[in-house]
Symmetry: C2
Subunit: 462 residues, 2 copies
């Protein structure tokens, strides 16, 4: 952890920078778009390319893991230190669709280096962030003089993240023994900004359901029957309206049970971030903040659960009017969950609550899809402290903390492997994930290399 080794890491990275970027560019030329069947072969080619490159990097074992969909890549480089902890790095090698006509200034699959940025689909999400691990572990070995990493290093790089990871949990369960780790590091996230390096400490979980409301056996005349039978669209609306109280707290009994309230220290950490609400609203394409009383926007999206309507429908939605009482209505709800909430328990609470809210004469059905657990790493977790130290050395500045309001397959790793999940990402909001002209900042990409070079030593205690 000396300045000398920091400088040595930088020197090593500088010496290999060109080859590193050339290699990454080669990978970015493979249009591994998992959502488009005509790119299936490209996704397989991307997996093969990565497996070969990891072998060349020094990983002793590399393997294509097949799924019912696109393949993942698994690689292992075990430490010769029998007491070394085991780290599993998660990322993905598939990318979002991209076409010049979407507004790209250049071919999205022909990387362009310009003004310190590398432009290409997947540059930030997620090939760049996967790839910094290849140079990072080499730098770690070079400056420590080791022949094996100070940690047992495992990489699991899936091929269907941009398609919703439909086979990921099955994959993790099938290979749970080999994936076993003391800590999982997810490299598929971002930082606050170029000037405010941060580490993410948690993601919200998710429970999703669809509720259908059955009224008359068919649409009936709102004149002949209006006012005298229950209307399923009204029932759906009343259920949605009853989800929150006047303080925008969720009214479902037991919903908040088990949630750790935000501590003053955590709120203080959130408030240290240079949050610009007007700018955030522009990102949210919204006109006003809104939510649970007494909380800031960051507290609301990072540390509190939600109940949102994702879709609602019933009756006549075409042009003009149609004077009916609809036969049925439906609502799709999603609940973002925070640490202390379990999707299975929320499913039961919601199911019970809905049953009490549907009026006589209206039938209902509620269906949940598979839930996602929240993950949260305590600020004092030793592995998190290692990440903070490693980032601090790479960035030369104080590392602050964020969380992520969304949910992801990382939670499957936490669930199945029983290991804490940490997030190490160097992407910034301007990188344009899923958008035209995606890029990665070369300086930050190399900070990612530098961070991992320090991190394996820190975690391995050397």
């Amino acid at each position: 952890m000396s300045d000398t080794s920091d400088s040595a890491v930088r020197t090593y990275i500088e010496a290999h920078r060109t080859a590193f970027l050339d290699d990454l560019a080669d990978w970015l030329r493979i249009p591994s778009v998992s959502a488009q069947p005509d790119h299936d072969a490209d996704v397989r080619r991307s997996a093969d390319w990565l497996a070969a490159k990891l072998k060349e990097t020094g990983f002793l074992s590399t393997e294509i893991l097949h799924t019912d969909g696109a393949p993942a890549v698994f690689a292992e480089w075990l430490s010769d230190d029998p007491s070394a902890p085991t780290v599993l790095v998660y990322g993905h090698h598939d990318v979002q669709p991209a076409a010049v006509e979407d507004g790209w200034h250049t071919d999205p699959f022909e990387p362009v280096l310009k003004d310190g940025r590398l432009y290409a689909r997947g540059a930030a999400d997620d090939k760049g962030q996967v790839f910094f691990h290849t140079l990072g572990v080499r730098a770690h070995l070079a400056v420590t003089g080791r022949t094996t990493p100070a940690v047992n290093l495992k990489l699991l790089i899936e091929g269907e993240e941009e398609s919703g990871s439909p086979h990921f949990r099955d994959l993790v369960e099938a290979h749970a023994d080999r994936l076993a780790a003391d800590v999982v590091i997810v490299s598929d996230t971002g930082m606050w900004s170029e000037t405010t390096p941060t580490v993410c400490t948690g993601m919200r979980g998710l429970a999703e359901c669809e509720i259908t409301f059955q009224g008359p056996d068919q649409d009936i005349h709102s004149g002949s029957f209006g006012g005298a039978v229950p209307n399923p669209a009204t029932a759906a609306a009343r259920l949605v309206a009853a989800l929150h109280d006047d303080d925008e707290r969720i009214t479902i009994p037991g919903f908040y049970d088990g949630i750790a309230e935000l501590t003053e220290a955590e709120r203080e950490l959130f408030s240290e971030l240079p949050f610009d609400e007007a700018e955030w609203l522009r990102t949210a394409k919204s006109r006003a903040p809104h939510g649970e009383k007494g909380l800031t926007t960051l507290e609301r999206i990072w540390a509190r659960p939600t109940a949102e309507v994702n879709g609602i429908g019933g009756g006549y939605q075409g042009p003009g009017g149609k004077t009916i009482i609809p036969s049925s209505a439906m609502v799709k709800l999603s609940f973002r969950l925070v640490a202390g909430q379990d999707p299975a328990r929320i499913e039961k609470l919601v199911t019970d609550w809905v049953a009490t809210r549907v009026p006589a004469g209206i039938g209902h059905e509620i269906t949940f899809s598979a839930g996602t657990r929240p993950c949260l790493t305590p600020l004092d977790h030793p592995a998190l402290q290692s990440v903070v130290r490693a980032m601090g050395r790479a960035f030369g500045s104080k590392i602050r903390f964020t969380r992520e309001g969304g949910s992801g397959p990382a939670a499957d790793l936490q669930d199945v492997l029983g290991a804490p999940v940490l997030f190490l990402g160097i992407s910034v909001p301007s990188d344009g994930w899923h958008a035209p002209n995606e890029k990665v900042e070369i300086d930050l990409l190399l900070k990612g290399v530098e961070t991992t070079a320090h991190l394996w030593g820190d975690l391995g205690g050397c």
Copy 2:
């Protein structure tokens, strides 16, 4: 009003029964389906056929009134008594679509006389009920020995009722002078049942609107932003939920102002009807009655206004889930109105109320379509008493009172002409309006003839 004249009317009708039914069958063979453009020529042919038949009946002036859509028929037979009141009869000559494959036992446009019923599309709705006026006025003349009716008789038979009467109000306004009448008689409704003859005394009015709710400029991620910006689908649902209080009374300030509350006498009249709630629920294809507290089902649908959701929509409505905060949502509302409520005033009340209910950060737009006024004839109105007497003579039993929960173009006649609207219909619920195997009961059809034969004399004071 003697038994002698009652008997004479019956004898006259019996003598002309066969020719009357043959003529009606000819008309029913014309498939005047206004909603289907390939039947446009049939609708015109139906108008021509009726105009010719009315001329043959004795109407001194018959005319095709053209509209921007299908033609109406107007006919006049003025009284030679200069003090005779003027009556305008309303009906329609177009019919609902019908095809054997919908479940008809025979060709819907080839009338079949069977078991005292005449089966054909339009038999009850509305050709049969228009056509009884042709024989009715002849019987009136025959038994009174008059050469002109005791009332100035006008018929307006429109051709677009089954398509929503899109040009009807324009038509009435354009010809208001010629249509002027002391009373309007609508022959396009029904009775309670074969054994409970009734007269309808009113219809509800209608105000309809669509409200759109604008949230984020595009769908946004419910993880990244959920819980911190307003959701337009939630806003739509909350608005709908706020429409009613716990007693299912509408909460919009001023909504009930000006409504005449039901009198005990009126409630008593409703309760005299042999209403079977279980049977009614089967008709409503619903499982439970529901509505404003302290009222019966008939009171709710006949005498009280409503606020119903006809359609609601927003966000993702396809299969599976999509974790978004929708960009927009919409709701279509219709308000049935009762006497004392004016659609224009309700439009203003709803608009003002909605504006106070939409949360900060959500934009909204509200659009009303043209409203329909309610109509209600006081039970002691002399013309209504005439109808009750005439029906009583034809049916030989007590005439009870109903109302109609729906709304119709009759209100345009009331509005434009400033004349009270009465309803004289002999159809029964089993006639199958808009359904396969529509029929009319021949006995009731002839009771219609008989009623009008008495009615013109009663109204004309002879």
